[in-house]
């Protein structure tokens, strides 16, 4: 096996056998299986649904679930590595062929990869580390009617509650802004937006 694009580590022994088994599937069966796989990749939280769909596929095509799961594990190695390394569809196709998959099936898979890669890339980016991520903002504003020092006040206040994700917990931060501060905050945030947009 030549140098693979999706990984530098040696590939497990079982993969060749799994690819051989995959080649035995008809084009239609392979297409159905690929669909199940990509649906899982684009929605990685739906583990239950994925397992159900795999089990349905196994029943419908008279394949045992155990071996099918192993095959799926082998197949998934490629898209996972490809995502990390920003591989092109051609590279994905080349890797499958190098692993022993037929040209026809490798091309089909690479095509599906091309179609799904924007969604998958977005997902991977979304998993990237964020420090103290802002998850929610609540606000209220009102008028201070009076205080112990001033019988009648009539000044406007704005209160913000920021919900920040710190590790696996969320923390609430409360603060108050005066009106001029609010306008200056809004102005700065609009500048940030312009800056972010110019880099997108």
């Amino acid at each position: 096996m030549g140098l693979l694009n999706f990984t530098r580590d040696p590939v497990p022994e079982a993969v060749s056998a799994d690819m051989h088994n995959l080649n035995q599937l008809s084009a239609q069966q392979f297409s159905a299986l690929t669909e199940v796989l990509f649906r899982f990749l684009t929605e990685p939280k739906e583990v239950e649904r994925f397992l159900t769909q795999l089990s349905d596929f196994a029943t419908m095509n008279k394949i045992s679930l155990g071996p099918l799961k192993n095959i799926v594990k082998s197949i998934l190695l490629v898209p996972n590595g490809a995502l990390k390394r920003n591989l092109s569809p051609e590279q994905v196709r080349a890797d499958f062929i190098a692993l022993g998959l037929s040209e026809e099936k490798a091309s089909y898979f690479a095509e599906q990869w091309k179609v799904n890669s924007p969604t998958l890339t977005r997902l991977a980016v979304g998993q990237t580390l964020m420090i103290n991520q802002l998850v929610d903002m609540e606000w209220k504003f009102g008028v201070t009617a009076g205080s112990s020092e001033l019988e009648k006040v009539g000044s406007i206040f704005l209160q913000l509650k920021l919900v920040i994700k710190k590790g696996s917990q969320t923390e609430n931060v409360y603060m108050e802004l005066t009106l001029p501060q609010f306008y200056s905050f809004l102005h700065e945030m609009e500048r940030v937006k312009t800056s972010l947009e110019s880099f997108s």
Binding site: L83, K84, R85, N86, T121, A124, V125, Q127, T128, L129, M130, I131, N132, Q133, L134, V135, M137, W139, F141, T144, S147, S148, E149, L150, E151, K152, V153, S155, I156, F157, L158, Q159, L160, L162, I164, V173, Y174, M175, E176, L177, T178, L179, Q181, F182, Y183, F185, L186, E188, M189, E190, V192, K193, S195, L196, E197, F199, S200
Partner: protein
């Protein structure tokens, strides 16, 4: 802040021993700004200047504090209103001097009271920076802009007296989060302008 009592006005007459009008002015300002706990030390400091004993000084300082705070509380801005606070037989010139000094300082004192009122922690400063994330463990090449926002928040002034505690909080926002936040801020601005136009 309740209106000063007659006994307190009597204590004010100690001001007649002040060396100058500026000394009276100075004392008025210090008495207003001092919190109740600081009046004791202030009285002791005032003793030598006025040539009065500590007990008399304490009563004077307390009376001046109450008078100035009462005027600010009620929001009195006209000379007549302030003059009418004093009892009938109060020293005429001193009454006029005190009224004049109070009127001079009233708007500054009002701002001071507002600035030191209780509140949630206040935003005192904000800084931001935009980074481009180029690589991570989940994807080796990317160009994702992200914003880091640092908010400096000061704890309630009244709790900290002279040493305000300022904490810095750095928050990261993605472009989507920023857009949502701006939407929210825009809605606040619209509602504020509705309130302002009423």
């Amino acid at each position: 802040m309740a209106a000063p009592r007659d006994g307190e006005f009597a204590a004010l007459q100690s001001l007649l021993k002040a060396p100058s009008k500026d000394a009276v002015r100075q004392l008025c300002q210090e008495c207003f700004s001092s919190p109740p706990a600081g009046l004791g030390p202030l009285a002791l400091r005032a003793c030598p200047g006025l040539a009065i004993g500590p007990e008399e000084a304490e009563q004077l300082v307390s009376a001046l504090h109450n008078l100035t705070r009462h005027v600010v509380y009620r929001g009195l801005t006209r000379a007549e209103d302030i003059l009418s606070l004093f009892p009938e037989n109060f020293h005429q010139n001193l009454k006029n001097l005190l009224t004049k000094i109070i009127l001079e300082n009233i708007s500054a004192w009002k701002s001071e009271a507002q600035a030191s009122q209780i509140s949630l922690p206040r935003l005192v400063d904000m800084d931001w920076r935009v980074d481009i994330k180029t690589s991570s463990d989940s994807i080796s090449r990317m160009a994702v802009p992200t914003c880091l926002l640092q908010l400096k928040i000061q704890e309630d002034v009244a709790l900290c007296e002279n040493n305000p505690v300022v904490s810095a909080l750095t928050v990261e926002l993605s472009k989507e989060t920023l857009d949502t936040m701006l939407e929210g801020l825009g809605r606040i601005r619209d509602q504020l302008s509705v309130v302002a136009n009423k």
